[in-house]
Subunit: 189 residues, 6 copies
């Protein structure tokens, strides 16, 4: 990729392109570890950041692994709709619409498909206490972005003022501080 | 507007259009009451929902009134960038980027302009203890939508499972229940 | 901004961005002088040219000041719809549609909103003989452009041939020359 | 075409489509009369209005005939770039850019191609005193629209206020009235 | 879906939507039969045709099953890029670029990802003589369309003239007739 | 054009632009030789590759010359709709839709117009045994691309595997090899 950025990335000279530019040994068939995660899940993204050949093509992927009771916590993709296919297990999933805030949720199983419209808050959870689950998601942008709600609100660098958050969540500042203390780093996924 | 919906709304016969279709007596110069709001703010939207002539035109407005220490709580517009102009007072405002979750915040005063890129979580707060503030926001969609984070996460109808939320915020379910009890209705703005 | 232009401008490295990139001390609350203008108006643009952080974001602003009987003369924005909010005073405003050329005009007052669809010829005039007026316009492009009709037709550099203009306006060339003599410079707004 | 309008037109059931839907006996090889026109030109449009099969396809055509010294007067297409091919004769043509108002003009002959970028004011004139000229234009929209400057400014229905026009063109109202009297009808092309 | 078509489909009233609208029991984990196919492959599409909730969302899926030496024959998707993930087996796959016609091909295995840019001719083949293969493809349109080259060229209804085809493929008409006789039906996938 | 590529090309500094940048001496009125072509046709493209001023403007042209019984063989433009005007002669032309593969064909004569929707396989043939024909096509992209089906399938560099092609066309490999031998070079048009 070129150092010039134009709402994305500049393209390689097409005559210099090779089949490798359109290929990624993503190992999407391999389960990922979920034990290192506080929320017992692990997201593997395959997008323009690590697969430059997707530039301008308007699509990308993510594999999501869930440990027992693992959660892909509420988040949004600012630039993409997500179409999720269950690879393994049973998931409780849903999204919340914009005004009014209705929840559309469902329990889905292996082979099912569910769609999260662009920029809506959505989540998934593995309902099993004793076995993993996995999903493969298709995203309608080569660079979908992700904003994990809890982390963005309580774990941004620098933090959002506790005045704003105490008012927003209608709680005391002590509780905000305690919530902020749960998030000590940005998980870049 | 026609009953047919096509990613928005159907259009009126252009030969039947009149100047009134392009006009709205929005009274955007008038302060709105902020006392009835738990967060001490009030958002007046002027978009395709109440101004049908904006259909397909890609732009809309919102006036935001803030009481003393009033907060326009963290939210996203899934379909629009927002360009805010301070009409009155001094605001602390900011947005959080997608991966990593950096906060871009600033204190702005009357006459200043600040931009919140599309679908990023953003907020504003009136820093004054004793007087109101106001802003006029331009949005790059006739139907920007709004998702208030606290309300969508803790006040959706039906609610998101406490298992998901307890894991997401890394807290006990009792606290989730208490947070959920703060939100008993969707504020449609 | 980078020297490379791609239907707009190249972007800054996102990791080098700061809150200042999203901020502009536009002083949009301050009236501008209208006395130096032959048409008794003054347009202050806040767009990607002087606010680079708007690049790719699809929105910009303009403050328009009108002296007594001041006119924002007929013009088009080739790349934007304009949504005008009256800040002060009473305006006569309107736009002309494409085939057929119908005028949609209206008298609007403080707090009212009126929309000029993309690339339509439009204008505003302060109806007061003795006091100023002002408006704040939102535009659906970070780089809307402006083509002032009288100036573009009679004041371009170099001028359009008088054969074309005499035929277009159905008048003698002497009159065209006289009209051309009224415009001795491009007002860049 | 369906009576529902959605920023254009609704589509026919694709299974009911026939080859005739994609065909138009436009007789674009036939010269049109230019004598009935005060400006000695005649524009034949082939777009979604008379060729419904172009709906959603993003392209249309116009044949332009010029009598001796005939002019296609300054106008804009609000929704299209125009790429003109000279079929016959020699034309003086050009367009004016937005801020600043530079004229890009040229004399072109049979077989030459010239492009007028979207929504810029442009014109053509047959330079010959004694023979016709013709051009075929491609437009980047199925519904490009056209706003003839002189007609829109001085011949709209109802007319634009003479206060606005006298100020805009820096002339007396008497002259505005005289200019307005030249335009007694909308030429719908 | 509504009977009105507007470059796709009209939308349901959002207040009448339920979680079922965003769900499809696609059984994408289940192998499909490939024995009934002359080319030993089977494509299962999950797009707006059988999953209306994808309307306007810009994404869809396809599961592709390959028998031993099965081929997903050269075809294009006129409205989508395709991002293929190998679920099982080893595939030889590739696409041909537009002018010049370079082939970008590769042998890929389970877990690998390969992208076919929008509207390029592409294909896949199971290299194994004795076992099946499968892939899951993500497509950047809710209605990608498919044009199978051999079928469209030699099996359209009605057929393309043998004069055209004999010239195009530089062969005798007898051979064209024989090729046409291989295709006696449109496979709608 | 700049060496940086961003889904097209970078733009020239607008202040350095001259009228020549918007002009091309394409000689589109001049018949081209069709005798050197095995298929008795010749396509002259006027697009961003040889007319850089079209960059970002969304339109281009092609002149097509046909010798007696000449064929513009089945091909697609991956990024453009094509609107064809017959300049001379009588053509048999058509396109094949995506699933199902219906042929929409027609015989058209001088002055007629026919449209080929984006990325559909289409062709034209001069029906006259003894005289040339010609057409002027407008394309809805400055860089439409072209994929000639026979050449892309049987003449790509390197070739597509004969296993794939024998299965796709339901013939023996010997015939595939013979078809491949007809194409010994990419015609870049």
């Amino acid at each position: 990729m070129h150092a010039v950025r134009v709402n994305g990335f500049a393209c390689k000279d097409p005559m210099a392109a090779t089949p490798e530019d359109f290929f990624n040994a993503a190992m999407l068939d391999q389960p990922r570890d979920t034990k290192a995660s506080k929320v017992r899940s692990n997201v593997t993204n395959i997008n323009v950041i690590n697969f430059p050949g997707l530039n301008t093509l308007g699509i990308s992927l993510a594999r999501i692994d869930y440990g027992p009771l693992g959660v892909n916590t509420p988040h949004i993709h600012p630039r993409a709709t997500e179409l999720l296919t269950v690879l393994e297990g049973t998931l409780y999933l849903g999204f919340v619409t914009s005004n009014p805030n209705r929840l559309f949720s469902k329990i889905v199983k292996k082979g099912d498909v569910f769609v999260f419209p662009k920029a809506m808050i959505h989540f998934q959870m593995n309902l099993a206490h004793d076995k993993p689950a996995a999903a493969l998601s298709s995203l309608s942008s080569q660079n979908p972005g992700v904003i994990s709600i809890a982390n963005a609100v309580f774990g941004s660098k620098p933090p959002i003022s506790d005045d704003v958050l105490a008012t927003a969540f209608q709680v005391e500042k002590d509780l905000i501080h305690w919530l902020q203390s749960q998030f000590w780093g940005n998980t870049d996924y």
